[in-house]
């Protein structure tokens, strides 16, 4: 956690005798105080920016953050407005995704990073014991895999124990071409979700509206939930892990959907008809 890394760092620097710069290090790691009253969006040439009172929000590299669509910009301002006394950057996943998307320039590294998870996909790696868990995995993960096979016309099968699942070249090629059709920003959201759920199949099920975020997180944590049901729940570990995964996965799903959709609406009044 933040506080523990604070203390470890302080101790190291104190013992080394660098007392002049340890306070700077502590301030860097400590949570920043909320220095603005309200966050609002502003229109830029290529999209929307965020203004924290009168300061423009900039990416870590120093350039002004430019968000391509309005829904996402509004969601990011909401994230900043939710912060109370300190700015907790680890609870602002949408902003982190925007920074990552601004820094990435090409799609290929993101796509290859996503595909590298396919050969070790969670729902394709079944365990061999205990018997209850094996049955639970067949019952819960089976439908998700069947949906994936039908949706993308590919053939994948699960493996048991320590053997890696076999994903053939044809499948990898098809998924590579499919992923390359998406926008670079969408791919950043998808890559982040795949890293959280440790599963390409579950992430694609979420963005295709086949599974809700809660269901996908539950399937990804199937073994943990089985053990919790059997041996008991430790709130400060299991619940924190579950809610953190849900928060970040939901943020990735929203990010993907908002970048993928561009909708305009025309409202008809009785005079126009």
């Amino acid at each position: 956690m933040n506080q523990i890394s604070n203390k470890v760092f302080c101790k190291k620097f104190l013992s080394a005798g660098n007392s002049c710069c340890w306070s700077r290090i502590v301030r860097f790691f400590a949570d920043k105080k909320k220095f603005f009253k309200e966050a609002r969006i502003s229109e830029l040439e290529e999209g929307y920016g965020i203004n924290l009172d009168n300061h423009e929000l900039k990416t870590p590299t120093g350039s002004v953050l430019c968000i391509p669509n309005e829904n996402l910009a509004q969601a990011v301002t909401l994230e900043w407005n939710i912060q109370k006394h300190t700015i907790k950057t680890e609870r602002m996943p949408l902003t982190a995704l925007c920074y990552a998307a601004c820094l990435s320039h090409s799609k290929e590294p993101t796509v290859s990073s996503i595909l590298s998870y396919l050969t070790t996909d969670t729902v394709l790696c079944h365990s061999t014991e205990p018997e209850e868990l094996v049955q639970l995995q067949d019952v819960k993960w089976g439908p998700a895999v069947e949906w994936f096979k039908a949706r993308y016309s590919v053939d994948v099968s699960h493996s048991n124990g320590f053997i890696m699942p076999d994903v053939d070249r044809q499948t990898k090629l098809k998924m590579n071409n499919y992923l390359l059709t998406h926008d670079a920003w969408c791919l950043i959201g998808l890559e982040s979700m795949v890293g959280l759920l440790k599963s390409v199949i579950l992430s694609l099920a979420v963005v295709n509206y086949h599974l809700t975020v809660e269901d996908a997180v539950s399937l990804s944590r199937l073994e943990q939930e089985y053990q919790v049901a059997k041996w008991g729940n430790v709130e400060w570990y299991h619940d924190v892990e579950k809610h953190e995964m849900q928060m970040k996965t939901a943020a990735c799903a929203l990010f993907f959907q908002m970048c993928a959709e561009q909708t305009t609406s025309i409202s008809y009044t009785s005079q126009n008809c």
Partner: protein
């Protein structure tokens, strides 16, 4: 979960997070709901896309709030050095204070 229930749950989460009805994010959310009122499948996208997005947004807000509450509850103890010392039976030494102690020596 029905659409109206999801909508009310989102509004409740925003209120708990301190987002008032005047803020731009709130206004934008109401605008989105109004424009999509009649349009479940009208704009050539998935029938249930808007419902799913609303549910995802609700999950995001709820999980953030629950995570914040859990972390505030369980991480509170780490900040207090006095409590950590008392836990192992020690007392921190008397700290310098601008207000001098009483004349008879008690704090």
């Amino acid at each position: 979960m029905s659409q109206l229930k999801t909508f009310h749950a989102i509004l409740r989460e925003l209120k708990l997070a301190g987002i008032n009805s005047g803020t731009p994010g709130y206004v934008h959310l109401m605008k989105l709901y109004k424009t999509n009122q009649v349009t479940a499948g009208r704009y050539c996208r998935d029938q249930t896309a808007a419902d799913y997005n609303a549910l995802t947004f609700l999950t995001y807000l709820q999980s953030t709030r629950k995570l914040n509450n859990l972390c505030n509850y369980y991480n509170r103890g780490e900040n207090s050095i006095k409590k950590a010392a008392e836990r192992v039976g020690l007392r921190i030494p008397t700290q310098y204070s601008e207000h001098p102690p009483n004349e008879n020596g008690s704090k």
